[in-house]
Amino acid sequence: MSHQNGISGGRHGAHGVNVSLEERAYRIRRLALRMGEVQGQGYIAQALGVADVLAVAYFHAMTYRPKDPEWEGRDRFLLSIGHYAIALYSALIEAEILPEDELETYGGDDSRLPMSGMAAYTPGMEITGGSLGHGLGIAIGFCLGLKAKKNPAFVYNLCSDGELDEGSTWEAALSAGSHKLDNLIAIVDVNQMQADGPSTAISNFEPLGPKFEAFGWYVERVDGNDIPALVAAFDRARNLKEARPRVIICDTKMAKGVPFLEARERNHFLRVEAEEWAEALDILDKARAVALQQGEA
């Protein structure tokens, strides 16, 4: 049974049907924090920031079979940014592609969940990312292959704003436009933070949308922490009848949902004190309870 479309994010499984996307995003954030706690540090701010995007991708947009991650009909999700693995593992656990108890092994010896995502290690991890700027080019090959097989699946490639510094990203953008890859949906997480500082201060990629447009792409730019906006953007990208690749540029907030982490400067690789993990989880839980009480938009 493939995942059903719909804003409810409904899907069969132990985590229940008709679970809201807000609930999915909350659970993804929780899982990421629990994994972060295992290592005591990590790319947790990125995971919290991109959780809403992953919730919409995995529980609204994409088709897949949790028990058969290599199913030929699945939409392919490529994680170009290998260090976002903690975020994707959380989505894969929530999607029941990975068992939840394995999160305790995150980053450990012989774990299937290494700190940087690799194809040979993890069910549902389509590519070995991490050498930044590779994903979009690999996605092109997936798209060309699917077209040659007349397979209607989509290829999603999640890349970061930092990866916009890489020339290979733009080689691939030019190539995707040239090949009119209407089965390609790139997602750019613009969280304005890379290793050495704020992304546009490192290398100014703005105005970003017009750049992709000039390369022949259909462009959506949304608040990447606004679930209804994301749903609408993913729907338009998937349903577009034009023969061109699509990009959803998502402006996200690093560490979204945990204000004391959001406030930390230089949060590319967050160090979190031992007692702060419980505090962060507690903040998430309380905010979720409030949202449910208020009847959730």
Partner: protein, 342 residues
């Protein structure tokens, strides 16, 4: 050395018959004047293969013409992918195609694969052990265009890459056979290509390519030349010439550089009494010569050992015969070096 050390006025240099020597262009053949040749052996072999292998696709970065992939592109336009002059996306997209069940034959020049696209080959193709065949023209010193096009260190670069099989074929016959053999093998391969009208040599010796196998093409009691690629044809020519001087030269052809056929190399080099010369169209750093040296040393086999190969330098531009002679890989230079070591 000054930045402009080569930038002083020169007079026109003429060849031995008073002819004007020209830079060997990309489309130039390495064939000698009287050598038998076959046209575009890689392209024709791939077309033949594609008849029974629908998953084979061709991909290039604006070099189908100069890598003989155009033959395939003409025969199977719907299975040919022009990726533009972008070697990174070429290799990445090939990896994606392989993930979808295709077997991409990817072509560019050896310099661009080994230098520019290395990270993409490493992480997208080799690390995932994907079934991509990277077939590259202008290996070693096979163009007179200078360092921008001379891939003198391609083998050294790819030897360090886990999972990568490396093939350095000698002639048209071997290119055809090796194309079929690497298609039958599942996994990433880097193959050096000779293109255009490629010399035909090994058919005279009843030779058949086998992946991973070194073969004695000619036996001899005085010298054992261990060679790959076009240096095997040079070694065979040198052996013929040296036999007139009563020097008996054996030639062990090693077209698979990795994984290396250490068993055959140790057996032949261990026979004793022969000068062992490794000859390669590659820098003496990190290629077949050092691979053989390490194999011998680790096994405690210690014959008199010499290397014929390109110097550890950025090489000159110019006419290919001049350059081959200058850097010691022409037939004449091979003969001179061997004689000097005996």
């Amino acid at each position: 050395m000054s930045r402009l050390s080569k930038y002083t006025p020169r007079k026109v240099q003429l060849g031995p018959n008073g002819e004007r020597l020209k830079t060997s262009a990309m489309i130039a053949s390495i064939a000698g004047v009287d050598q038998r040749t076959a046209p575009a052996p890689f392209g024709h072999a791939l077309v033949e293969l594609a008849k029974s292998r629908p998953e084979i696709v061709g991909m290039t970065a604006d070099l189908s013409k100069y890598t003989d992939l155009f033959v395939f592109a003409k025969a199977y336009p719907e299975r040919f992918y022009q990726m533009g002059m972008a070697e990174g996306v070429l290799m990445s997209a090939a990896a994606g195609m392989a993930r979808e069940g295709f077997t991409p034959f990817v072509t560019t020049y050896a310099v661009f694969a080994a230098r520019r696209a290395y990270d993409f080959i490493c992480m997208a193709i080799a690390e995932e052990n994907l079934d991509v065949k990277i077939c590259c023209a202008l290996p070693g010193l096979t163009t007179g265009y200078g360092p921008s096009h001379q891939a003198t260190e391609d083998i050294a670069i790819f030897r360090g890459l886990p999972n990568m099989t490396i093939i350095d074929p000698c002639d048209a016959l071997e290119i055809e056979q090796a194309t079929h053999a690497i298609a039958a093998y599942k996994g990433p391969v880097y193959m050096r290509l000779l293109r255009g009208n490629v010399p035909l040599v090994l058919d005279e010796y009843g030779y058949t390519f086998e992946l991973g196998k070194a073969k004695v093409v000619r036996d001899g009691r005085d010298v054992l030349v261990i060679s790959s690629g076009l240096m095997t044809m040079r070694a065979l020519e040198a052996a013929k010439a040296l036999s007139a001087d009563n020097v008996d030269v054996a030639v062990l052809h090693v077209p698979t550089i990795k994984p290396l056929d250490t068993e055959t190399i140790l057996r032949e080099a261990g026979k004793g009494g022969r000068l062992v010369v490794v000859a390669e169209n590659h820098t003496v750093v990190g290629g077949l010569g050092e691979a053989v040296a390490g194999t011998l040393l680790r096994a405690g086999v210690a014959p008199k050992f010499r290397q014929i190969g390109l110097p550890d330098e950025f090489l000159d531009a110019g006419a290919l015969p001049t350059l081959h002679d200058r850097y010691g890989i022409s037939t004449g230079a091979v003969i001179r070096q061997i004689k000097g070591w005996l």
